[in-house]
């Protein structure tokens, strides 16, 4: 195998071997134009061992039922909307679904505030257009159009960032499964196997709220934050270690205790209840995702390394922690103070953290 110079490989390239093995052993019914059967797609996502003994690595760590819903949705020709707070592997899942089902994850439209209708439908090659008038040759098809022609999965990232009028272009495509080209008096009809996976961020709710007509054409799967504290701690520790190396932070990797405490605080504030389920707390407006926990630890390590003795202590953590929790200076401050006074203060072995946080605030 020749080494690739790309920083990041597409899923279908990186896991080409797994995909071909799966295909070889896949004896079950496949929907038309699918590379794999729905069961094999689940195995590809969740990992497992084939009958031949070939091991498939897990792409998604979490609830298998969610992946089953996603695959069943695509198998019934419904578009799939992956929803969730930032950092819950939405794009990751959509890429791997496309790679497993169509063998191609590159038919991608990135949703931004500037995404235009041409990017969703088709554009024109103006030199051709001026020279020969409207024709198939002058047409520049979008990834979506390409996917319709070839019967593949198209991906739309950050659907809710796209202006509402542009979003609605999708309605015809999803319900009629065809894309009219009035200039040529023709249309592109989707081949079987075509489908759309969109991702959206539910913190951006209301930015460009999906119209109910469009909403109705999607099945929604919400990807949750990690289910258990242990799962989240291990994700944080792993990512912090990787990033620490990449950023060449001078501090030692943090003690598990500090990470566990931080993850606990994040989880408690996020879920609105303490870990022992005895006390309710208010939740702040901030997301408090796993990704943010990682960045708090990273900044704590940087502080400890550059200004401290290299070991991360509560006061190195405190400023980052408060910054992550208190996004709205007024409402979140109340939430944070209540949490500090009613929960952190009461925990005997958290006194150091309590003091560090109080010092930061005064």
């Amino acid at each position: 195998m020749t080494a690739s110079t790309a920083i990041r490989e597409h899923a279908e390239t990186q896991f080409a071997e797994e995909l071909s093995e799966l295909k070889r052993h896949d004896t079950r019914a496949r929907p038309q134009n699918w590379d794999l059967s729905p069961w094999a797609v689940i195995t590809y996502l969740m990992g497992g061992k084939l009958d031949s003994g070939f091991a498939i690595s897990a792409k998604y760590i979490g609830n298998q039922r969610l992946m089953e819903i996603a695959v069943a949705t695509l198998a019934t020709d419904r578009a799939l909307l992956l929803y969730g707070v930032p950092g819950t592997a939405k794009s990751w899942v959509s890429e791997h679904l496309a790679a497993a089902i169509s063998g191609d994850s590159t038919l991608l439209i990135q949703g931004t505030a500037g995404t235009s209708e041409e990017q969703l439908r088709y554009g024109w090659n103006y030199a051709q257009l001026l020279a020969h008038g409207p024709s198939e040759q002058a047409l520049v098809s979008s990834p979506l159009m390409h996917a319709m022609r070839t019967g593949k999965i198209a991906r739309v990232e950050e659907l809710t960032r796209i202006p509402a009028d542009v979003q609605d272009t999708l309605i015809t495509i999803l319900s009629e499964k065809s894309l009219p080209i009035p200039e040529l008096n023709s249309e592109v009809q989707a081949r079987r196997g075509f489908n759309v996976i969109a991702t959206a961020n539910n913190r951006d709710k209301g930015v460009n709220e999906l119209s109910s007509a469009l909403k109705r054409r999607f099945n929604t799967v919400v990807l949750p934050v990690p289910a258990s504290e242990d799962e989240e701690v291990s994700i944080v520790v792993k990512r912090v270690a990787e990033m620490g190396r990449a950023l060449q932070l001078p501090a030692e990797p943090p003690a598990l205790k500090e990470v566990r405490r931080l993850v606990q605080i994040f989880r408690e504030l996020r879920s609105g209840r303490t870990a022992d389920e005895r006390t309710q707390v208010k939740s702040p407006t901030s997301t408090l995702s796993t990704a943010e926990a990682i960045s708090v630890i990273n900044s704590g390590m940087a502080l400890a390394g550059h200004f401290g003795d290299g070991v991360m202590r509560p006061h190195d953590l405190a400023s980052g922690l408060i910054g992550a929790v208190v996004k709205d200076p007024i409402q979140d401050n109340i939430v944070w103070n209540e949490y500090l006074e009613t929960v952190v203060k009461e925990r005997a072995d958290w006194k150091d953290l309590y003091r560090a946080c109080r010092e930061q605030q005064t």
């Binding site: 069961w39 695959v71 949705t73 019934t76 929604t220 799967v221 006390t279 208010k282 109340i334």
Partner: protein
């Protein structure tokens, strides 16, 4: 002798019920034995009576001790219910073959007495739940009581089978294998085989030796009943019991051995009756050990048994109707897509039809945009359901009635149809018990007594009631008997249920008061707990402040009624701290009307904080007041109030107050705002001006220090404030002002002080005040 036909079932399983009815139709049994309390056999004919509407429960209880009781609930999809109905419809003799309740309850009583002799902390749970738990162990499909299955990882034996089949839990495995399947004539053989094998592996040991002993007795009695039935010459005997017991009925044990086991068991008197039941009480989370997770879903399965194709669509249509009732969009197209997704999911999971999980997942994905909140109310209204059963009017009385009659007798409080007034002196223990009784009845919606004096404080020793007994109270008692067998149990269970549904903090605080008055310790705990967690979530400071006064009252005067104030104190402390944190912000940027209502709440809460007398809480509260007093964008009225309270508590020195006062009332201040400040500061009370030298001086200095134009500007406003004082107060103020500044000095103590004469009244004063020398 004819071999019996054994039908091992799972209690409340619609699949079992359906297969059972079909099997009966094929077999046409001439004698039916059912696992149930033999004492209730006389009530079985009532299943077809008019007005009998499941869910209902057979209640067996000991008339002398109503807290000794067991419920056997039945839903329309319970196999036992269908078996009884079949028997009564076909006029086939039907017998209950469980251990007689007379023995069972006597054993339970001995068990409980043993527990009381060596109380374990783990047993400190609500009495209502206790009874359901005891009942739980009477059930076989899910043996072992809930406490045990939580601790014990193996838990429900069904989980073993489920794990072996690759399912996460026994419930979903059983649903797919048995309850949600279309076929099932061969079901009983399969179930019997599985359970027999399982029980052989599982062993006979239980965590609780008493429990396993009881199990042995029950099965011995079942075998005895079976032998008796065989003696009568019946040829096709059908035995319906929990699948768990099948093995015991099949093993051969000698008659003698069983007789020896059952000989000389203790007995108590037992009566039984039908009581209405609810689906909520059928769920496992209600504390019922053989409970099921989804009564509403099971009912749907039962009712759609003849139309399997409508199962998925029918359910989703109910979801859609529920959504529309809540003004949530839901079209037929949604229904079609959800049905397709549910079917596709079932196919992917290799199941013949969509089960509850697939339907819930399809609902979430298609109807709810992935939002879980919709599923919560579906879970509540459809999966569990709120069906309440009813029983015919002529069934015997319930123990709750007996408990009340007993209480009426011991407390000498006769029910009378005429109105009469009752004055209770709460220092007297009999009167106190009467008061508790009346308060408990009120909690149960049986308003036998009405409190005559509304707004009564906890401090008084008297309570005046107006009593009048209405005949319909009896019906209410029957309805309330679903909550428990004694008034205490029932009222506690009812309150605990209610707490889950009340969201208003003030209402919860009032409920604390009511349960304290009714002396329901367990309920007090639940309510205060709920109050605490609700308070943690509320963003409404007004609500938070409103809870303080009633709680402080309970705390302060709790001892008069011999209630436990410590429980309340803890909650109160938490609330004060929360209020103190949130209050400064709430006082900012409010309009006049809001400021007015905040002022009232603030003053009441301040009194409450003072009643609590907690050092830390007072500290936090005062800090909040200081923030309010010195914050610039707080409403002036509230600032004035805060400064005044700080002055009263001597937190701020006179100099500080003087500075704040001159700042607020200075030339630069807008006159209307200055007046609002003054209004807050004086607090509608001239007495403070008259009696507090410092305040008088401050006002005086400020007024005198005003320049003429400034004086002219504030005069109308000051006048407005002063006009709220009463006429006499105003004239006293005028007099005081007329005396000039000289009087403002402190009155000097008299010079010629006669020590001897002053000492004379001291002994008497000591005696009066109870002070030791």
């Amino acid at each position: 002798m004819a071999a019996p036909h054994l039908f091992g079932i799972r209690h409340h399983g619609p699949g079992c019920a359906r297969s059972l009815v079909r099997a009966f139709d094929a077999l046409l049994p001439d004698c039916i034995l059912i696992e149930g309390p033999p004492e209730s056999e006389g009530l079985l004919q009532a299943v077809l009576a008019e007005g009998m509407q499941p869910p209902v429960a057979l209640l067996s209880y000991c008339p002398d001790e109503p807290q000794l009781a067991v419920y056997h609930p039945f839903a329309e999809f319970s196999p036992e219910w269908q078996a009884i109905r079949w028997a009564v419809l076909h006029a086939v003799p039907v017998r209950f073959m469980d251990l007689p309740m007379a023995n069972d309850l006597a054993l339970q009583k001995a068990h409980r007495q043993a527990d009381e002799a060596c109380p374990e902390p783990a047993h400190a749970e609500a009495p209502a739940a206790q009874d359901h738990r005891d009942d739980a162990s009477a059930e076989a499909g899910a043996p072992a009581n809930p406490a045990a299955s939580e601790d014990d990882r193996a838990g429900d034996p069904l989980n073993w089978l489920a794990h072996a089949a690759g399912y996460a839990d026994g419930e979903s495995w059983w649903n797919h294998m048995v309850e949600e399947r279309g076929d099932g004539e061969q079901l009983f053989a399969a179930v019997a085989e599985a359970m027999t094998a399982l029980r052989a592996d599982w062993g006979e040991q239980r965590d609780d030796p008493q429990e396993s002993q009881r199990e042995v007795l029950r099965e011995a009695h079942m075998r005895q009943c079976l032998r008796e039935a065989q003696k009568t010459g019946a040829e096709r005997i059908a035995v319906v019991c929990g699948a768990w017991h099948l093995r015991a009925l099949q093993t051969s044990v000698t008659i003698k051995a069983d007789q020896a086991l059952l000989k000389g068991l203790p007995r108590v008197k037992v009566q039984s009756t039908w009581v209405p039941w609810t689906y909520r009480h059928l769920t496992r989370s209600s504390g019922y050990g053989a409970g099921i997770v989804s009564p509403g879903w099971y009912e749907h399965l039962w009712r759609s048994q003849h139309l399997p194709q409508l199962r998925t669509v029918g359910w989703l249509a109910r979801v859609a109707r529920l959504m529309r009732e809540r003004d949530l969009d839901c079209s037929s197209a949604h229904l079609i897509e959800a049905t397709r997704l549910a079917d596709a999911l079932a196919a992917m999971r290799e199941r013949p039809a969509a089960g509850l999980e697939e339907l819930q997942e399809a609902t979430r994905s298609v109807f709810a945009m992935g939002d879980d909140s919709l599923l919560h109310f579906i879970a509540d209204e459809l999966v569990v359901g709120d069906r309440l059963g009813s029983v015919p009017a002529d069934v015997p009385t319930v123990p709750l009635q007996r408990d009340l009659e007993q209480a009426q007798k011991t407390l000498r409080l006769k029910p009378e149809a005429v109105q009469r007034t009752l004055d209770l002196d709460l220092r007297n223990s009999n009167d106190l018990a009467r008061s508790h009784l009346l308060h408990r009845l009120r909690l149960l919606d049986v308003p036998w007594g009405e409190l005559a004096k509304v707004g009564r404080s906890h401090g008084t020793f008297h309570e005046v009631w107006i009593l009048q007994w209405q005949p319909e109270f009896l019906l209410q008692l029957i309805e309330a008997s679903q909550w428990g067998q004694t008034l205490v149990q029932a009222a506690t269970a009812l309150v605990i249920d209610k707490v889950g549904r009340v969201s208003d903090l003030a209402e919860l605080a009032a409920l604390v008061d009511r349960v304290l008055l009714a002396d329901l310790d367990a309920a007090v705990q639940a309510v205060t707990q709920a109050l605490q967690s609700r308070a943690a979530l509320t963003g409404d400071v007004l609500q938070l402040l409103a809870t303080l006064p009633p709680l402080a009252n309970v705390f302060r005067y709790g001892n008069v009624r011999q209630t436990d104030a410590a429980m309340v104190a803890q909650v109160l402390d938490g609330l004060i701290v929360r209020a103190a944190i949130a209050m400064p912000l709430a006082c900012r940027n409010v309009d006049d009307a809001a400021a007015q209502s905040l002022r009232e709440k603030l003053l009441a809460a301040h009194t409450a904080v003072a009643l609590r007398q907690g050092q830390e809480e007072t500290q936090a509260w005062r800090q909040a007041l200081q923030q309010i007093a010195s914050s610039t964008n707080t409403r002036q009225l509230l600032q004035g109030v805060a400064v005044r309270l700080l002055l009263d508590d001597a937190v701020w020195s006179v100099e500080q107050v003087a500075q704040a006062m001159s700042f607020e009332l200075s030339m630069g201040a807008e006159p209307s705002k200055a007046a609002a400040w003054l209004e807050g500061f004086l607090n509608r009370n001239a007495l403070v001006l008259l009696h507090d030298m410092r305040v008088w001086q401050l006002m005086d200095e400020w007024l005198v220090g005003l320049r003429e134009e400034h004086f002219v500007r504030v005069l109308p406003l000051v006048r407005r404030t002063f006009s709220t004082f009463s006429a006499s107060e105003r004239s006293a103020l005028a007099q005081r002002a007329g005396q000039g500044r000289v009087v403002a000095a402190m009155p000097k103590p008299l010079a010629g002080w006669n020590e001897e004469r002053a000492a004379l009244p001291l002994p008497l004063l000591r005696q009066l005040l109870g002070v030791q020398q």
